[in-house]
């Protein structure tokens, strides 16, 4: 035969090898990975021995060593010598965990090993989840209080002890041992003749085991071609009679008894099952050199877990493959479902952890004692649903198809399994490993053994009852559906199991655990429903496995055929060679996630806002909402009355003033009062200003009050001009000041002859330039205001004879400021006042500015102040009534004042009354 190239490392291996001799990976047929729908190739278990992880091998060795120290009792988990935890020996970690009773075991592991509760171990022979003792059938059963994994402990302990143990929480060691049945296969050695001599557990298999053809066939095929591990070889010695009180691997014992004469049938077991249980495969090869269970337990050079060792010790109390062909109806026994008969579904009760009855393990077929107690329980069913079982385990969950083992069966079985004869014709029901369905108690019609290590077909494997621990690995798939990794593998992995797996780098052998499935398991999973096996009537819905429900991690570990998937091949992605993703391409590098052990921090999606922010947000929302709703304008009541009142006032005022102006009446006398400030201004003009003196007259008012200002300033200027004939310089800080000045001298003062004045023009900068003019007037204003395109270079204004002798501000004899605003008057007083020297400062202001300019007069900053038409009237009285503007306006002014007075008084009283009326009304209204 052509050499088989390993798909992992690429090394060529002999054709008859199932496990790569270099990396330990499973060598599938033609080096191809399993494709969906493809039936797995049967492998020899012994060939897969090398695929066992190191820790599993170590564990088995230790178990063998410790089993020497145990005679009657199942080996203690603590009896495991400290195994040298090699790289990928998964079971090696069992030692460290075996002493810890408080460690948790995953559900899927518990399902593998059977329920830790009392459900499994309640009654002898009850079909409940039993722990499979992969050790020799001669291995003594373990004590309940052993710190073995429960599933291992249950295999070796008595039924009562198994009950107690089952009630206990499964120890992590149990979990450890149960987590990776693959690990158990890593160290499986080809069965030897010694094994074939008949380990007790194998002997029990022969008599009691009811192995489903499907489940076992493939596995048996695998096991047939795989040498048994040493510990299994040691167990192949004749086992003692089965002890109902001992949880031993009766199914193994029975197998041993059945398979013993069929040592050479190992090749027959090499059905196309890729991931056959290596350990089971190796069992076949190790049948020859198999040693009795106690002897196997005493063997120190095997990495054998306690449960395996106990299987070797169990024969002390459990039937050996040779001596106890009947499968004891020991409820403590773990029996793979595929090893069970048709009563597996009825034996497993997922909804009732205590449902599985040991008797169900031996109902319609000679179920080994250890298989009888194996029933999927509710817990296991639940746990089975939680984890993903590998294909090879799920295959075992398929309904066991009761089938009479064929003659070929005996041919392909290893010797130790061949000795486990099927004594009953009742077909053994193959129960998938992941089956959560309760298996009905097997009919006590005798042990029905369907050897798992023969060259089973899928149909044959279906009759094999799968042990509970296998049945609880996952959901019960439909017979027509292949189990999927997602549903067949347990998802929850306890921490201790994690430590088991992460504490040591996994050797390449471990890859085989996840990539290879024992043949007997594959055969179980691949068994079509056409085998004719009918599920037990007692099988509940919960026990049914969903078709193609492989756990996700099993699916992920399923090798991808690059040839069939050109995309992956074309991507040129690297293939993972290590770790659980071995054989897969395109996976994320595991190194990236190393150390990423922290759970991602959960972030609150709710906006974190305090009360104030929420209130503000609410306010903003209200504002925005209000923007969308136009509010009707509330027109205040009385809008027409307001306009009517205004019009009435205007009309009255217009009538009065127009009548007085147009009629030219002079009814009202001029005021008799002589305000002091007004008279002071008049006196300055009259007596203080010398004749022909330069006088600065500042026209700093707006056209709005030109009438009032002209009325007030005209008498004073008229008196000044008439009395003193001054040389006046006209100045303005307003652009329209020059026009106002011209208006003044062309209007009220138009009748005066030859007034000497010069217009200095517009002082730019507003009031800020007053200081500059006061500081240096000759350089502040140079050109006259009549410059134009026709007169671009007029002479300097200061060269005019009118301003002769005027070089500074203080040269003026008087400064007459005519202004209508307080600011202008204040600015001139503040800026120019300190620089006027001896010049008289007279301010002629409007009535609106007079009260605020009064303090300046009181402080002496100005020498005279005349404001308003009242003072204009006073000035005109002192100027012989000239020019008469005030007189002309006085009657209208007086009538207007009277009207204002009456309107103001009457209106105020009316408003006051209305207000009080509203207040009273509002108070009465409450």
């Amino acid at each position: 035969m052509a050499d088989i190239q390993c798909s992992i490392c690429g090394k060529k291996n002999p054709a008859n090898t199932a496990v790569c001799q270099n990396c330990g990976a499973s060598l599938s047929r033609g080096g191809e990975s399993i494709q969906p729908g493809q039936e797995p190739t049967r492998k020899t278990t012994s060939e897969l021995e090398q695929g066992l992880p190191t820790w599993l091998r170590d564990a088995r060795d230790q178990r063998r060593q410790s089993s020497d120290d145990e005679v009657q009792l199942p080996s203690q988990p603590s009896s495991f010598p400290p195994s040298s935890l090699s790289g990928m020996d998964l079971l090696a970690g069992l030692q460290s965990q075996s002493d810890d009773d408080d460690e948790e075991i995953p559900d899927w592991l518990s399902n593998l090993t059977g329920d830790a509760g009392a459900s499994k171990k309640s009654q002898p022979g009850a079909v409940e989840n039993r722990r499979v003792e992969l050790g020799g059938p001669s291995k003594p059963a373990r004590e309940p209080e052993d710190e073995l994994p429960s599933w291992l402990a249950s295999l070796s302990a008595s039924p009562a002890a198994a009950d107690d143990r089952g009630k206990k929480e499964q120890s992590p060691a149990d979990d450890a041992s149960a987590v990776s049945p693959f690990g158990a296969f890593a160290d499986i050695e080809p069965p030897t003749q010694a094994e074939e001599a008949g380990a007790d557990w194998l002997t029990s298999l022969q008599s009691d085991a009811s192995i489903s053809e499907d489940a076992v066939g493939s596995e048996a095929g695998a096991f047939a071609s795989v040498d048994l591990p040493d510990w299994m070889k040691a167990d192949e010695t004749p086992a003692p009679a089965p002890d109902t009180d001992v949880v031993t691997s009766d199914w193994l014992k029975s197998l041993d008894g059945q398979v013993a004469p069929e040592t050479s049938s190992a090749p027959g077991l090499s059905e196309p099952v890729t991931d056959a249980a290596d350990w089971l495969k190796t069992l076949d090869a190790a049948e020859g050199p198999s040693v009795p269970a106690p002897a196997a337990a005493e063997t120190t050079d095997f990495d054998m877990p306690d449960w395996l060792k106990s299987m070797g010790d169990a024969p002390a109390a459990a039937p050996t493959p040779a001596a106890a062909p009947e499968v004891s109806a020991d409820a403590d026994f773990f029996m793979p479902d595929w090893l069970k008969g048709a009563d597996e579904p009825s034996a497993a009760a997922p909804s009732a952890p205590s449902a599985p009855e040991p008797a169900s393990a031996a109902t319609d077929f000679e179920t080994p004692d250890w298989l009888k107690g194996i029933e999927p329980t509710a817990v296991n069913a639940t746990a089975a649903a939680d984890f993903d079982m590998p294909d090879w385990l799920k295959g075992a969950d398929e309904p066991a198809q009761p089938q009479t083992p064929s003659a070929d069966f005996n041919v392909n079985l290893p010797g130790w399994l061949k000795s486990a004869k099927v004594e009953t014709g009742e077909p053994a029901k193959a129960k998938p490993f992941a089956a959560a369905e309760p298996s009905a108690p097997p009919e006590p019609s005798g042990p029905v053994f369907v050897p798992a290590f023969t060259d089973f077909s899928m149909e044959e494997a279906s009759v094999i009852d799968t042990p509970d621990w296998l049945a609880n690995l996952g959901k019960t798939p439909e017979p027509s559906n292949l189990p999927t990794p997602e549903t067949s593998m347990p998802s929850p992995i306890p921490e201790d199991m994690d430590s088991e797996f992460t504490s040591e780098p996994l050797a390449g052998d471990l890859d085989a655990l996840f990539t290879d499935m024992p043949d007997w398991l594959n055969a179980t999973s691949m068994t079509p429903s056409a085998s004719g096996q009918q599920p037990s009537a007692d099988e509940t819905e919960a026990e049914k496995l969903s078709p193609a429900s492989l756990p996700s991690w099993v699916q992920a570990m399923r090798p991808v055929d690059t040839a069939s998937n050109p995309l992956d091949a074309a991507a040129g992605e690297t293939m993972e060679t290590r770790g659980p993703f071995a054989g897969l391409q395109g996976v994320l590098p595991s190194a990236t996630y190393l150390g990423a052990s922290s759970k991602p921090k959960s972030l609150a999606i709710k906006l974190q806002a305090d009360d104030e922010q929420q209130n503000q947000a609410l306010l903003l929302e209200q504002i925005m909402a209000a923007e969308a709703h136009p509010e009707p304008m509330i027109t205040p009541a009385g809008v027409n009355s307001q306009r009517i009142l205004r019009i009435a006032i205007f009309v009255l005022l217009l009538a009065v003033v127009t009548g007085a102006i147009f009629m030219g009446t002079q009814i009202f006398p001029l005021p008799l009062g002589r305000p002091a400030e007004t008279m002071a201004a008049f006196n300055i003009v009259d007596t203080v200003i010398p004749p022909d003196a330069p006088v600065l007259v500042v026209f700093d008012y707006e056209p709005a009050l030109a009438g009032e200002m002209e009325a007030v300033a005209a008498p004073l200027l008229d008196h000044l001009v008439v009395k003193n004939h001054p040389r006046m310089a006209l100045l303005s800080t307003s652009p329209t000041g020059a026009v106002m000045a011209a208006r003044m001298f062309s209007g009220p003062l138009g009748e005066l002859p030859a007034i000497q004045y010069v217009n200095l023009g517009y002082l730019p900068g507003g009031l800020s330039s007053v200081r500059a003019f006061a500081q240096d007037p000759t350089h502040t204003l140079v050109l006259p205001p009549d410059v134009s395109v026709f007169n671009l270079a007029p002479a300097s204004v200061w060269a005019s004879p009118t301003l002769q002798g005027v070089q500074s501000f203080s040269n003026f004899a008087a400064i007459i400021l005519i202004t209508d605003s307080v600011d202008a008057g204040r600015t001139w007083i503040e800026q120019a006042g300190p620089l006027r020297g001896s010049a008289q400062f007279v301010v002629v202001s409007s009535a609106q500015a007079g009260p605020l300019l009064q303090p300046y007069y009181a402080s002496g900053q100005i020498n005279g102040l005349a404001s308003g038409l009242y003072d204009a009237a006073v000035l005109e009285q002192n100027n012989a009534g000239r020019p008469g503007t005030a007189r002309r306006y006085w009657d209208a002014y007086s009538l207007g004042l009277v009207l204002i007075l009456f309107l103001l008084a009457g209106g105020a009283l009316w408003s006051l009354a209305a207000n009080l009326r509203e207040r009273i009304a509002s108070k009465e209204a409450g």
């Binding site: 306009r643 205004r646 019009i647 205007f650 005022l653 217009l654 003033v657 127009t658 102006i661 147009f662 709005a704 009050l705 030109a706 009438g707 009032e708 009325a711 652009p735 329209t736 023009g761 517009y762 730019p764 800020s768 200081r771 140079v782 050109l783 205001p785 410059v787 134009s788 671009l792 270079a793 209508d820 204040r826 600015t827 007083i829 503040e830 800026q831 006042g833 300190p834 409007s846 009535a847 609106q848 500015a849 009260p851 605020l852 303090p855 300046y856 402080s859 002496g860 900053q861 404001s867 308003g868 038409l869 009242y870 002309r888 306006y889 209208a892 002014y893 207007g896 004042l897 204002i900």
Partner: protein
């Protein structure tokens, strides 16, 4: 027939007076026409005045007809004027900031100097001098007047003092003396504002009378 300027001016005056008086009836197109024309004429006149009485005599005339010293002195304001024209465009507006800063600084200084030397000191001294009874014509009247003026003055200043402290019940209250003076100042301010209001009212009445009188002159010219 020559139309005198005065006739045109009178007509325009009457027209615009009516246009503005129409505002008493509410906002209407006549009022808007009169106000928009007023703004345009005022802006044009101010621009013309600024050109002929500031820009040309202060900036251009020295460059053309001035001496070298005048030309040197006019360089800086000419430069600042150029920067100030950058304010027209938003993109170059930042270049006019120094010119505006110069004007702001000058104005602030003038204001500070005038306020201190022209108002605060003289008015304070004047308030003090009221109590110089030796120079008063009527000491008693002067004294009474002085007291009234002083109390009114202090009360007015206290009214605009907003420094307060938190009492035990959490409310803000000013000092008791300040509160009392503030109350007195409130009365004084009311009287002062009443006087000012009356003055404005009288001034506006005078303006009203002047307008009517201009109508009279206009109509009498026909």
């Amino acid at each position: 027939m020559l139309i005198s300027v005065d006739l045109i001016t009178g007509a325009l005056s009457f027209l615009f007076t009516v246009l503005i008086f129409s505002y008493l009836l509410g906002d209407n197109p006549l009022f808007r026409i009169g106000s928009y024309i007023f703004v345009g004429v005022t802006a044009g006149y101010v621009a013309a005045v600024a050109m002929w009485q500031v820009v040309y005599p202060q900036l251009l005339y020295p460059l053309v007809y001035g001496s070298m010293v005048d030309r040197i002195l006019v360089f800086f304001p000419l430069l600042l004027t150029g920067f100030l024209f950058m304010k027209i465009s938003p993109r170059t507006s930042y270049l006019g900031t120094p010119a505006m800063a110069y004007v702001a600084g000058i104005s602030a200084a003038v204001t500070v100097g005038g306020a201190v030397l022209g108002t605060i000191f003289p008015q304070t001294l004047a308030t003090i001098d009221i109590f110089d009874l030796a120079r008063a014509n009527s000491p008693f009247a002067s004294l009474v007047s002085g007291v009234i003026i002083l109390v009114s003055l202090v009360g007015t200043l206290a009214y605009f003092h907003f420094g307060a402290r938190v009492t035990s019940d959490g409310t803000l209250r000013r000092f008791v003396v300040i509160e009392l003076l503030s109350w007195v100042g409130r009365i004084s301010i009311a009287i002062t504002l009443g006087v000012l209001f009356a003055g404005v009212l009288l001034a506006s009445l005078t303006a009203f009378i002047e307008r009517i009188a201009s109508w009279s002159i206009f109509f009498s010219s026909f």
